[in-house]
Every structure is written in C-alpha cells, then in structure tokens.
Assembly symmetry: D2
Homo-oligomer: 344 residues x 4
C-alpha cells in the first residue's frame, strides 16, 4: 500500500547509500572530526554564503531544537514560539526538560506575525512584574511551518528586525528547509535565509538522509563549547562520518535542492488531484505537506487503500488529513493515488 | 595510516549496508513502528532468552545512559557507579543534566565490587542524615568496563544480589557488550547476563553498526511511557528503520557474536605483539581494548606511523596508551602494526 | 501613605510574634522535627478533618508549588493549569526549571472549568500522536484564584471527579486559602475542600504569618521521601520551628479563619466604597482582592495618596487596578481610603 | 536537657525579635524592595568594604548555594568542591537538580588545597578528551568548613589566584561566616575575605537570625537578572522585610561579630573541658564546631544527659561526635556540660 503519511517513510537517496558503501572501511576519527564532516561543512558554508559559519551535525530534529535552544538561553529565559510550533506540541516537552518555558503566541496559518512578537516583547518589558516572569530569550519559527506554509522574505525580515531590536536571537527550525525553499511560493534563497536569522538548521532526515540535521550559526556565533553541550544532550554521534557523508552528498551538485523540488512537484500534482475531485483544503500549503479535508465516507473509503494521517477532526464531522510527499515520491505513486480518489 | 584509536573508526558491517540498500525504498512507519524494528525486537528477545523483554532502539551511548537512568530514577535519587565509569567521566554531565547525581565508588580494574556497593548502601541507610543526601536509586556498571575488563558470572550475581537486597535496579552499559561476551575470559552468556540485571543495552555503534544501541528490559519492566521519555531526551529516531534494519542483521545468524569474536582474536594478537616486544600493560584486558605502556621514545617513534590514543601519563614519565580492535580489524592491520613495534 | 498593593505589606499577627519571643530560647531540633511543628501538624490534621494527613511546612508559595508539582509528576508529565494560573505566569518558570511543562487551559474569571479539563484530557488520550506530547500528570488550581474568585463546592467536586476519572491528582494552591474560605460566597469548609483534592496548601505568608505554607496530603499520600525532595528544592528551613510556631498559633482558637474574615469584611467595605463612587470592577471578586477600573484621571489623582497595583491597561484607555486587604487591614485604613475616592 | 547538636537549636537574637515587633505594622513593599532591606544592604556594603557590591537576601543555605551556583555556571559547566563540601554531601543533590555536576577534590581537614585545584584545572585543560567532560566553571569552598576549620589569608589568596588564572569565579559558602572570622585562628577580616572571592554569603540562620543568608557580589558582579533566577529557584521571600530587618539588626553596632565571638569563647571552653577530661579530637577546630572522640561507654553515658551529634564511627569502635556552640550558648550550659564529662 502506498503511503503519504509523512516524509520519512523511506531510507536515503541512493547516492548517499552509494557513498556510505564506498567509504565504509576508510578509517576516520569520531565525533565529527572526520574528513567527510569537514568537507560537508565547507560545502554548507558555501551554500549558505557564510564563510565564517559554524556548522554542527546532529542526529534528529527534537534533539537539535532542544540542544540549540538550551545552548543559547540563560537559565531564566524561555523561547517564544507559536502555539502550533513543533517545540510547543510534539516534542514531549524536550525544551522544558532542559529547564526552559516555551512561551506561545497565536499562530496564523502556522506562522508567527512580527507584529505579535513585537507587541509581546514590548508588553513584557513594560510590565512592572516582568522580573517575576520568564524572560523571552529567543524566538523560534519553523520554515516551512508545521502546516506547510512558508514565510516571505519580508515576513522573515520583519521578525528578525524585531529580534534585533530586542536583542534576542532568531532560530529557524528547518527540519523541512529544502521543501520550503524549493516551493514556487518561496521568494528567498538559502543564502538570504541565512542572513535573516542567528541560527538555523538544514533538515536531512526528511530530505533524503537516513538521519541528520546540520545546525548553522551563520556568523561563527556558536555558543562557547557547543560541542560539549551537544554531547551533554546526548546528541553527539560517535560515528560522525554517517552525518558528514550524507550532508557531503546532499550538498554536492545541488542535490539537496533538486530532490526537494521533486517533493514540491509531486505535492502540487497531489493537491491538484484533490482539488479536481472537489475536495477543499484546511490550509493552502505551497510545500510538501497537503491538508485535504475528507468527509467520513471518503475517509473510510480511502483508509484501506492508501496510508495518510488524520490530522484533526473538524466540528462539522469532517476530518483534516495530511498527505506528504518527499524526495522519494514517484510519478507512479501519484498516479496510483489519482485512481483512488472519489469525487465529492 | 592504520588506526587503533577506537572501535568506531569505520562504517558498518557490509551485510548491514547491503540490507539498507535492499530495503531502501520500502515504505514504513517511523519511530520504531516499522517491520524491521519488530523483527529485530523478536530476534533480540530470543537471543537474550527473555520472551517478555521490552526492547527499544536508541541512537548512541551517552544518550542511552542518560535516558535509561533518568527514566528509572525518582527525582531525589542518584545512580551509583565506579569513579572510572563512563557516566562519571566522559558524558559531559549528561546524567546531571537530567537532575541526578552520579554517586561514585572506587574502581578496581575498572570494576565495581559487590562488597563496596553493599557497604555503601548499608552505611547510607544507617546514616541518620541520609534524608539530606541523594538516595542511591540504581547501580550502573559497564560490561566490559572502560578498561576492557569484564565481570565474572559470580561477580555479576553478587552485585545483582546486593541490588535486589536494597531494592534498586542494576543497569549494565553494554556499549561494547559483544566484545565482553566474546572474550575468552567471559564465563557467562548473553542469556545469563540478561538474567543478572534489570536493564542493559546491546551496543551497536561499536560493534558493527553505523549507530544504535538496543535497550533491553528483560522482564518487560520498561518504565511507563518510556517511549515518551526517549523522545523527550531527543533520543527517538524518526527513521527508526535505520536502527531496526541494523539490529535485525546483527541478530541474524549470530552475526553480532561472530564479528565480536574477530575483534577479540585481533586484540589477543595485538597484545601478544606488544608483550613479545617487551612492553607491559597498564591493565590485563581480555577484550578489544588493550593498554600497553609506552616510554616517551617509543611513543614518539610510533606516533606518525599508527594512530592510537594516549590514555594518561604515568608518574614515571611513561604513558598508558590504548589500542582498540573492532569487528573490522583485519589480519593485515595487525601485521602492519607488527612491523612497526620497537623492541624495548 | 496607606497601601492596598498586596496582602503581604505587613509583618505577622501579634500573637505569632509573642509566641516567637516566648519560645525563643527553648532548644529544639531543626528541619521540622521540633515540638512546635509536631503540635501544628496535629492541629492542622484536626482542622482539615484528616487524621492521617501528611503535613509539611515550606517557606513560600512559588517554592511550594514547584516542589509539590515536581514531587508528584514523572519526568514525562506536565501540570494542567489555566492560563492565568500563578505557576503559568508569575513564578519565573519555576515549574519548567524542574523539567515540567505547564499545560494551559482557558481561564474563566480566573477559574478552570471541569468541562474544559475533561475535554482536554479526552482529546489528549484520543490523539494518535499523544506519545509525542507531554502527558498531563496533574491538575493545578488556585483557591481563591489570581482574580479573587472562588470555586463552588460543586465546581470543585466536578474538577476532582474528572481528575479521578483520568487518574491524575488535583493540587489546590491555597496561598490565600483563608480569604477564600472566609468569603461569604464560599459554600464549602476547609474540611470539605480537603476531601476534594489530593494535595493542597494552607497559605501563611499572605494570611498572618511572616512566611510559611503548610502542605497537606489529606490521605497520608505524600510521595516517598518528600522531605528529601523539599531539601533538594532548597525549600527546607533549618529552623523549622519558625514555621511550626506560626502555624501552631494560626491554628489555635481558629485564629486563621478569624483573621481571614477581617480581610473579607474590609474588602467588602472597600468594594462598596468604589461602587458607591461610581466605579465598575474588572471582575466581581468576593475575596480580599478587588479590581476596580480607573480612568486615567482618577488613577493619576489617587496615585500619590494611596498605594495600589496597576493590574493591566484596558483597550479603552482605562486601567484595571488591584486593591488588596489582609488580616491586618484596619477600619481606619478603609476610612482613609473613603475620603480619597473621587466620584465618577 | 541542654543541646549542643547544632547551631540552630534556638530562635533569634533578642534584638532581632524586638525590631520585628517594633516594625511589624509598618507597610512596606515585598520581595526585598522594602526600606529595611535597603538599609541592611547599605550596612553590609560598608561592612564588607565594597561600596558597589550587589547584595541579595535569600532564606537558607542549600537554596543559596544552588541558586548562586546555577546563576554563575553555563549549562556545560560544573562546580569544583572538596569531597566533604556541603554541596557534595548534605544538600540532597540540589546542585545536580539544577543540572550541574559537583566535581570533587580531596579534602584536607575539610579544606581545598590551591595546589590540588591548580593541578586539576591544568590536567583538565590538557586532557585531549576534555570536551567530553564537565567543564569546571567555578570553585566552591566553605568558610569555616564542615569540619570547623578555616582558611588562612594566604590559603584563600592562593586559591583565588588559581581561579583567576583559569578564569573561573570563587564562591565562599559562609553559612557560619561569623564563627570563622571571630575565631582566634582567623588572620583575615570580612573586608579582606570579600576581596578574595567573586561571591560569598554571610550566614544568618546559624548566626543569630531566624533564617536568612546575605549573598554578596563584591564588585557589583551579580549575574544578569539574578532576582529572577532567585524567584525561579523558589528562593525569593515575599515578605523580604523579614530578612532585611534581621540583617539590619545584625549589622548594626557590629552585632554579627559580637555574637559570633560568644560562640567561639564558649567553644574554646568546651574544647578545653574535653581536653582536660582526657578526650582527643577528630580534628583541631578553632571555631564553634568541636569534634571530640568518644568511646562507646562514654557515648552511652552522655547520651541521655546532653544532646549532641554522632558524626561518624571510627574503625577502632570509637565515635567522632560533634558539639556545636552558637551565638546563644550560655556560661550555664558550658558549666552544666562540665559536670557531666567522665574522665578518660
């Protein structure tokens, strides 16, 4: 049965497996000191246009979020995110586990509004009792968001301006970064994004790798002893080569963006299939996650034929569903889905 | 240059890479719910002789230690280890990061003595001020230890008895479990070891895998919602298949033990080379880590010719070094080393 | 200048100071093992109608909340509170510091609704991805709330029922417990309240003591080694007698309730003064905190003449203010205020 | 029965109780913003000779240690102390609860040796694997120590020099500071001590107050938002006046040092009584804690007649005991003890 449940149902891009096999018996030091990691770091520095960037390879998204956030906050600070942000909902409290509050703002199509952030920060510092509260020490957004939406260059610029005005770093969770930048709706490049935040990560797990996220501090601004913080958080891979090799391949010949574009093409086809069949969408997503709304009957009909996620029930009895494409989605899979959709 | 610096200088056993390639495009759910993890769990249950065992796959050792320990302790409890235990020294304070003290006992050849543990626990509970101290909530040992030594069946039985007497679980860090069990000096099997503790893990990273540690709760005694604790600790791999596939291969046709035995054979040859050349050893290790003592001249001589680790300086000006073999060490590497050793 | 800014502007009830002086040189053991603490515990057990209750004396409110909550939650659990709850706003992230998320529900006049709690718990456990989220491990409410409102016996019963249905404890923050129970609007007694929760505390700091909160586990259900958790949280007072003596006095001859009633009487007079002068209230509070709404002119006029708190600005340019009475508020203070209020 | 079990068996110095009573109904703001705290801060700044010092009042010792330490360390750092240091033994893991390791050095008569600290720091930074370990981020010593001993001016100077060389702050736990400085063996003043560390606290709980510790950052070097960190740690007293009044009295007319000298005088008499009766001491303490060694018979004989602490059993069957005097110890108590001692 074909599956659109998420963008991590399959292994890795074949070129990665090839390179893992080819380099398998070369002896290299551990913990990211190997030549593959060095090469991957160089390629990433070039791709993001930041020759001084600090680049670290971690294993997974939740781990990366909690490690980066904890490393950049002081004990009395929390991180500001929208209420639908991944760290606020689906990370089992990993940020709180490290002692920090996730301060939430309302989400609009999964996004934070610069105006809301500014209003919050202004009110916080104007509040006579703010010393009894958690200080907002950084802002967190995801690109694309948990609802597949993306920030425009102007929106990012505005959020980053607010952060600079209040002296807090902006962190972009790029678990699906490629799928955001490859979207037709994106009006900014990886280089531009790198200039509009203080730290971000390039998601590998969901974009062609077996695992791995590349954390980038664009201005060489990694916190002191970040390596040790990574280890302390259980996020340091002994065989760092596994991450280095994968990112080296992904950042050779623009592979990361090429395979990201495959996911977008397939997502747009999928979106169009649902639209033609008369379905509406919970949200208008321009990236690899699509959220068609299914009635109970259509949902039951589809359930045994294709795998997807039931996102949330709607008050009217229908269901928001999620269909995700990925670097690996094939034309055949789209066509198979096409044959399965009931008209509504 | 050949390297004996550690047992994670190379990739994975070729059968693992083969299986990763073969299964690469099969669509499977994430987070350990895939068929490979299910299969690997079954094989491990059989190998450890515990049909009811709970088995979880985590990514790395430090992460596994801190996750297991935090999940089994209450907030007011700490974990008892020897002073040379990995959690006490080389994990960047990951256990303390989760709020727990590592209570240390003296190490004898890297090992904890049952008598010391008992004396400590007895004195603790007899101390009128124990309510002002950290309660010992579990015992941690590594098998083999950080010095390559292993516990005999009797020693393990004695430690476990003390733990049972005081009602605390015994946790065995098996980052190099295969190399311990495959040693000629081992007088117990994997099944027996599983019966002499409350939780342990089977190390993959150092024994043939790219990454991965299999946590086993032999009696189905995983703490409630251990999955969520794993996620909270940043230790849950999205593409759990990467771990499932690797352990499935390692526990097929006894591969795990077979490749462990290779490391032992090569280690004994290496040990014999050093001994014949007149070197002494810091400790008499029967496993894959060997600790020859080198004078300054021999150390300088060898340094550019083979990679190894300088473990610690001795008061007499000589150096304890570490040479580690692994599943991947070849006869050629041993022979190359043989040609390099100066007689002393 | 008279002050109504809060209910902790003055020292302690004179009978407490008298008793501190009288017992000052008696030698007693520390850490709550003294005879005064023993006596106070007995009197509280009687007052709450729970002969088996565990009673502990801590120093302050934030400390008590974070210690109790951390002691009753497992690592993967959080505490459910309303968004205006003290732990969610004004405790500098003390709960998150101990690793737990504060999960927020909407507040209605500062109160949690049983229906909302039930809906949340039901939806949580029905959510297929709940294992990736923070488990709701206890419910927290304050009595009276941060807005001076109180729960009816039925409301408390309903919330407690939901908690029991889902197997989580209910914790009542009673920093101002006396002021809630002494209110004319209260339809339940201290004994009844003790039967409708799993742990609560009787606030001393705001109700006649220099400091001190008495934590009550009504059914002898204190978590194992709670004493040690208290110490670990820095909440154990060496001279426990300071707390024992105070609570012993407060629970002799019903002093706690008598002085609570003084605060209520004065609050009702104050409320009536504002109402007669034409002011409205942000919320209809039946306890010692009153929230009159002042226009900019009235606020400026009053500011130099009496101390009070500006709670929050309203969109229409007016201000919510807070005037608090206490066990120590005198008729003279009320009369002085009366002469100061401008008619609107 | 008279008690020498510890130095917190009695209430407060009578002048403190008097002042509490006299100021009782004056209305003041909370959280340390009151006029008594302001006055006390000024007097302390003068007494320590640091006009720019930041001074904060916390409630108890364990709380103060963990709050100060956590506020001055980064997440990847630990605190270096001797193995008998209070934070390493009798604080229920409060430091670890905040995520930091207590790194221990050997104790000599309860004291840290500058040479040991330097050797440790040097070896740490020379260790190739130090990035995998906990960084030593501050040094902690107590004055006097848990064994009643004190550092000479030279010893403190040496330790502080090492700290400065390695760029880490030195923290002095002064829970019994007065008893150390008032000792005949002390060769330094409060002002000199303040110049030989980066943060210290002046213990009130054990030296005449009901509770309270005054944290001093001599160079105005309190960490940013220390107030909020104090609140987050549950260490902020709502009625800060209770602490302000007490320290204001203690630092008026040199009361703190005067009452400290009483404890020393009585301790020296007590020491002399034991010596004359033929007892030896576990350690030669010049401060208010004395550690006579009692045989089983003498211990049994004394037990029902006077209260004291059994510190630890000796291998030869005898017992180290602790007899503590305090600000409140009277000549009568010493004489009563005198009549009770058996000759040995």
């Amino acid at each position: 049965m074909i599956s659109f449940t998420c963008d991590y149902t399959q292994g890795a891009h074949p070129l990665i497996l090839e390179q893992l096999a080819k380099t398998n018996l070369i002896q290299e030091p551990g913990y990211g000191e190997d030549s593959f990691c060095r090469s991957a770091r160089e390629k990433i520095r070039e791709a993001v246009g930041c020759p001084r960037a600090d680049v670290f390879f971690l294993v997974g998204g939740t781990q990366t979020n909690s490690t980066v956030i904890d490393s950049m906050l002081r004990g009395y600070e929390g991180v500001v995110a929208v209420s639908s942000g991944h760290i606020a909902v689906h990370e089992s409290g990993a940020v709180e586990f490290s002692g920090h509050k996730v301060i939430t703002l309302p989400a609009f199509a999964g996004k934070m509004r610069a105006g809301d952030l500014k209003a919050y920060l202004k009110a916080f510092h104007a509040d006579a009792s703010c010393e009894h509260m958690v200080y907002p020490g950084m802002a967190y957004i995801s690109f694309p968001t948990e609802y597949g939406t993306i920030y425009s260059k102007q929106e990012l610029t505005d959020i980053h301006s607010v952060c600079k005005e209040y002296g807090i770093p902006l962190f972009i969770d790029g678990a699906r970064l490629g799928y955001g930048l490859a979207s037709d709706a994106a009006d900014l490049t990886l280089k531009e994004l790198a200039g509009l935040c203080d730290v971000f990560y390039i998601g590998g797990t969901k974009v062609g790798a077996l695992c791995g996220e590349a954390v980038v501090f664009p201005n060489g601004n990694a916190p002191a002893h970040f390596f040790t913080t990574v280890k302390q958080h259980g996020a340091l891979l002994a065989k760092g080569r596994l991450l280095g090799i994968q990112f080296d391949v992904l950042f050779t010949d623009d592979l990361y963006m090429k395979i990201s574009r495959n996911a977008i093409e397939k997502a747009l086809q999928l979106k169009s299939l649902f639209a033609k069949a008369g379905y509406t969408f919970y949200i208008d997503s321009p990236t690899n996650q699509q959220f068609p709304v299914l009635g109970k009957a259509e949902l039951e009909y589809l359930k045994g034929k294709v795998a997807f996620e039931i996102w949330e029930p709607l008050p009217d009895g229908r269901f928001v569903t999620r269909f995700a494409t990925s670097w690996a989605t094939t034309q055949e899979q789209i066509e198979e889905l096409s044959g399965l959709l009931l008209k509504v």
